[in-house]
């Protein structure tokens, strides 16, 4: 066991954990004031449920002994049994550190999806969806890509930190749910602008920070590979942000702060699979490309009429594809992965592998998510009533509203009738 590597993986796991609350803020700021809490609850709910499922059987399904390159043995590490043994190592670190690091990946992937169905999903149904989706889609896909499954072993596609397993996967699942739930009332008619852009910026900042654990932590060691991943993550993001802002400036006349925040995320998404296979200059190219393409892609929903409310498709699916496929072009043999892309004279074979990996996951996730979504919609219902949606999901579903900032309503009004209610189950605490 190497304490330095363990230190970095534990720190990285904490960084990735922070990404989910960061995402809650990023998404929460983008919706209208009346649904900010519901939006954040979808992320917090994912964190709560997925952490438990991961420990119970998720880790085992993903990293248990491979069965036919399709799934890990779910019984092997049921409830993480045997893994507290100090001798249990994954490479140079305790297996429990690896469990931690991979667990937070599962959480954030599910949470990402929620951006596509802002303002209109029943919270209870969302929670049921989270449990089913992570089991039927995320655990298998992560096994294929990282746990010894067919994409890793047979296709041999490069996905360093999750372009395919996380972003394409979540992005297309978002698309599926957006189709199942349908458009928000007023979609493409009302602007539905972010109600709190500083909140979006806080979220973007925390995502950015956490992503260094996501990408550089994926080296599962504190070494040169992690360092290269760090620098590539840094510079690709900068280039993507510039790309997005210039696209906006050129097309709309203004560089917006939502554009800056989105550009940051687009760059982070795109470099995720590629951060140990391209050079820093390649990362600049990749980032800039992702920034421009994602800035254009977020407009597609108006053209095709699906309400991907917070641009999960435009940023995560498109950005994930850009990053995954660009490896086939830009992979630099001097980078830690040692692979050569088309432009480095490595021929088209790497591009082919990348495409197979990406589109297989895209297809699988799209179909399975559509089925899960439709079944839930037909049985317990997935979308709230029109009245709830118009008057605001926070008040109806969570019995709260995000803000109470005005002097007159904060404390000035004593309530007509109010009584302290005893907790149900009178003697429960006695």
């Amino acid at each position: 066991m190497d304490s330095g590597d363990t230190s970095w993986v534990l720190a990285s796991a904490a960084l990735v954990l922070l990404m989910t609350p960061g995402l809650a803020l990023f998404y929460g700021g983008m919706v209208r004031a009346k649904s900010v809490l519901n939006m954040m609850m979808m992320s917090f709910g994912s964190l709560a449920l997925v952490s438990v499922l991961w420990v119970l059987y998720g880790y085992s399904m993903t990293f248990g002994t491979d069965k036919s390159k399709v799934i890990g043995d779910p019984g092997e590490y049921l409830g993480l049994k045997g893994l507290m043994d100090p001798e249990a190592l994954s490479g140079t670190i305790p297996t429990m550190a690896f469990v931690a690091f991979q667990g937070v990946f599962a959480v954030i992937t599910v949470a990402l999806i929620s951006g596509a169905i802002a303002d209109r999903a029943k919270f209870g149904t969302w929670m049921v969806f989270v449990g089913i989706w992570v089991t039927l889609v995320y655990f298998p896909v992560a096994h294929w890509v990282w746990g010894g499954g067919w994409i890793m072993k047979d296709v041999e596609a490069i996905d360093f930190a999750g372009g395919t397993a996380v972003h394409i996967n979540a992005g297309v699942a978002g698309l599926a749910l957006a189709l199942v739930l349908g458009k928000r009332i007023g979609f493409a008619k009302e602007p539905m602008r972010p109600h709190n852009l500083p909140l979006v910026m806080i979220g973007a900042g925390l995502l950015w920070f956490g992503w260094f654990g996501f990408n550089a932590g994926s080296a599962v060691a504190a070494n040169a590979t992690a360092s290269v991943a760090w620098v590539n993550t840094f510079v690709a993001t900068g280039a993507a942000t510039l790309g997005w802002l210039l696209t906006e400036r050129f097309r709309d006349g203004h560089a917006t702060s939502l554009g800056a925040a989105s550009g940051v995320v687009a760059g982070l998404v795109a470099i995720t699979p590629a951060c140990h296979s391209v050079s820093p200059v390649g990362a600049i190219a990749l980032g800039a490309l992702a920034g421009v393409l994602c800035a254009l892609a977020v407009g597609l929903k108006y053209r095709f009429g699906y309400d991907d409310s917070l641009d999960v498709v435009g940023v995560h699916l498109v950005g994930g594809l850009v990053g995954t496929l660009a490896i086939g072009l830009l992979a630099d043999p001097d980078a830690p992965a040692g692979a050569s892309g088309l432009l480095a004279g490595g021929g088209a074979s790497l591009l082919g592998k990348q495409a197979i990996g990406a589109f297989s996951v895209l297809g699988y996730s799209l179909i399975v998510t559509l089925i899960i979504g439709l079944v839930l919609e037909k049985t317990i219902g997935f979308r709230v009533t029109t009245e709830t949606e118009v008057s605001g999901i926070d008040l109806d579903v969570h019995a709260e509203s995000g803000y109470d900032l005005t002097p007159a309503t904060s404390g000035a009004f004593r309530q007509q009738s109010s009584k302290a209610a005893a907790p149900t189950g009178e003697g429960a605490m006695a």
Binding site: V390, A408, T409, F413, S418, K419, A420, A422
Partner: protein, 112 residues
């Protein structure tokens, strides 16, 4: 000149605005308000205690109109803002003695 004032449910503002435009009104002023009336706010159980919130968000609309149009505008407003549920609000008409357009100094009907 009259001032037609309406206190209505926030999500009806859009419909009302469209209806008023349809009825030839070219301007109006909107502000936030909170209403107390028969419609009670929700009863909340929050962290083990129960409360009644009795102020509900409303929107206040003011429309300056010529005297003879006041009734018609008020009726349009009432139609458009109605959902039929408690808390739909009130519309009332008040006398106005003079109206001036700030930009030009025009007065009376020309100022609308």
């Amino acid at each position: 000149m009259k001032l037609v004032v309406a206190v209505i449910k926030p999500h009806m503002v859009d419909t009302v605005k469209d209806a008023l435009q349809g009825a030839g009104v070219h301007g109006l002023t909107v502000s936030e308000a909170n209403g107390f009336g028969r419609q009670r706010g929700h009863t909340e159980v929050y962290r083990g205690a129960e409360y009644t919130v009795d102020l509900v968000p409303k929107v206040r609309i003011e429309v300056l109109v010529e005297a003879e149009e006041a009734q018609a505008v008020a009726d349009t407003l009432v139609q458009a803002a109605r959902t039929g549920k408690i808390g739909d609000g009130k519309v009332w008409i008040m006398p106005v003695e003079e109206v001036i357009r700030v930009r030009t100094g025009e007065r009376g009907t020309d100022a609308l």
